[in-house]
């Protein structure tokens, strides 16, 4: 059994420095790895990334992250990635990582992902160049996620994104903004590779549990959804989630 802890949307900044780390004591007793589902910073600055590194750089298990839209706000995403990597956090974008853990090998493929919506009410690559650009960005990131997932040879494989692959976990958000919260392209990527779990954030008012059309369990781990510092999922039995609540 591989136990994966996950949280997203911690939105760290100087004003809330130190608000998460006290809750991470003993994380290693409950989980074999920690996934961070984007929006690690509030304003997307390297100064905030330093705080993320302080908060998550020394939790006793491997930490794997994707960035979120907030982390792009100040055009410092490359520097944020560098700061996080220097502290030992693995940052994924269209890439994957495989870890040899006591319970088996864990593969995580990650991408920020993007919006566009879900079947029946989604954006298409049609019309104005801005519209095409929006959808192409989403498709390109999902394709990167799919390729990275496909390349994993681990016992269990997890898709880590910031944006949601399914509408299920958005329930609670205004339906009008679903196209800005996720894209079915991400579900296609997870389903295409038959991932064992898809973890995302971004939808603060959504709910934790969902499932892709292909049957991949989806978890929205945005901090305001979890109301706890992280959730733990045991990956050979995702349906009957174990570990501390």
């Amino acid at each position: 059994m591989i136990r994966v802890a996950a949280v997203g949307d911690v939105h760290l900044g100087a004003d809330v420095r130190g608000s998460i780390s006290p809750h991470l004591d003993g994380l290693g007793e409950h989980a074999d790895a920690l996934l961070l589902a984007g929006d690690l910073t509030q304003h997307g600055t390297t100064a905030e990334a330093e705080i993320v590194a302080e908060e998550f750089g020394d939790v006793g298990v491997p930490v794997i992250a994707v960035l979120g839209n907030h982390d792009y706000q100040s055009d410092q995403q490359a520097d944020i990635t560098r700061v996080l990597r220097l502290s030992g956090i693995h940052v994924l974008e269209g890439t994957g990582i495989e870890l040899d853990l006591p319970g088996g090998t864990l593969g995580v493929a990650g991408s920020k992902g993007f919006g566009g919506g879900f079947p029946g009410r989604c954006a298409s690559e049609f019309g104005e160049p801005q519209m095409k650009e929006f959808v192409v960005h989403s498709r390109r990131l999902a394709d990167g996620l799919g390729a990275a997932l496909g390349a994993l040879e681990s016992d269990v494989r997890v898709a880590l994104t910031h944006y949601s692959p399914v509408p299920d976990t958005l329930a609670g958000e205004p339906p009008e903004i679903y196209p800005f919260l996720g894209s079915y392209f991400l579900a296609e990527a997870a389903d295409g590779a038959a991932a064992d779990l898809a973890v995302h954030g971004h939808a603060h008012a959504g709910q934790e549990c969902g499932i892709t059309p292909g049957g991949v369990q989806v978890r929205n781990v945005a901090l305001p959804v979890l109301r706890r510092a992280y959730a733990v999922y045991s990956l050979d039995a995702v349906n009957s989630r174990t570990g501390p609540r």
Partner: protein, 280 residues
């Protein structure tokens, strides 16, 4: 109309005459006032409001008229009995002492062939919504009273006044869902509606909500995407969650700047809460 209802209306007229002859200012309230404004006749009792300073005098004149008078320990009304028919003489209405302003707003209406002051429709609805509690929240009865007089009520004033009451807000939602009143500007589902329940142009209020949300998203001090703004009844209320107290204060500061520049008449209500983090 059944016989007991006719007798209750006679009691109402008798009570109004007693107050009028004694020179005690009053207004018809409760279900009887709703009847005066087009609703169904009262069935349980008749309510009047009187000034708090007149409560002793009221007790005396009703006793002098041969009625049994009780002063219940709650301390906000006097009960008088015309045989078995009850008259409530209220001097603290839904928690607020009856004052001259309330009586001045009352309108003289001909009720069952006698003209008497009747609570203004807006005050009447407010008194009903404000008196709701967990143990007393009869939406059905209130709906019966409110529906016939909906055109007489200033709903934007009601909306602003009951904003702090869960029962009041819930009842307004019910009225909107039943199409008794138009939806509030800025609330989901009202986009494009021509009806106006708020002060000012509804489209303008919705656009103001949009501009506030845009400012909270793009202002470098906040960058908050999850804060929703509703503008109704002269109040812009902010809803959502942020990570810390300082961010909650900055959200209010940014919204206040937009309001002071664009809509100085709109008040700000910060209902943003803080994200709770527990140790798993």
């Amino acid at each position: 109309m059944s016989h007991p209802q006719v007798l209750l209306l006679e009691t109402m007229k008798k009570a109004a005459a007693i107050l009028q002859q004694a020179g005690i200012p009053f207004a018809l309230a409760g279900g009887a006032a709703a009847y005066a404004r087009g609703g169904a006749p009262p069935v349980h009792d008749v309510d009047f409001v009187v000034l708090a300073e007149d409560s002793d005098a009221v007790a005396v004149v009703f006793a002098d008229a041969g009625m049994t008078v009780e002063r219940p320990p709650e301390g906000w009304l006097i009960k008088a009995f015309d045989e078995d028919r009850m008259i409530d003489l209220i001097y603290v209405l839904a928690g607020q002492p009856v004052n001259w302003q309330l009586l001045d707003r009352a309108e003289r209406i001909n009720v069952a062939a006698i003209e008497m002051p009747v609570l203004a429709a807006t005050d009447l609805v407010l008194s009903m919504l404000r008196s709701m509690t967990e143990h007393h929240a009869d939406f059905a009865l209130t709906l019966t009273c409110v529906r016939p007089m909906r055109e007489q009520v200033d709903w934007s004033e009601v909306r602003a006044a009951v904003n702090g009451s869960a029962f009041g807000r819930a009842f307004l939602v019910l009225l909107e869902e039943l199409d008794v009143i138009p939806g509030s500007a800025g609330s989901a589902g009202s986009a494009g509606s021509a009806g106006s329940a708020g002060s000012g142009e509804p489209a303008e209020l919705e656009n103001l909500a949009g501009r506030l949300e845009h400012a909270l998203t793009t202002d470098p001090r906040t960058h908050e995407l999850g804060v929703r703004v509703e503008v109704a009844g002269g109040i812009a209320s902010l809803h959502g969650e942020v990570a810390g107290e300082q961010r909650r204060a900055l959200v209010a500061a940014v919204a206040a700047e937009v309001l002071s520049a664009e809509a100085p008449g709109i008040a700000l209500r910060n209902e943003v809460t803080l994200t709770e983090v527990r140790t798993p």
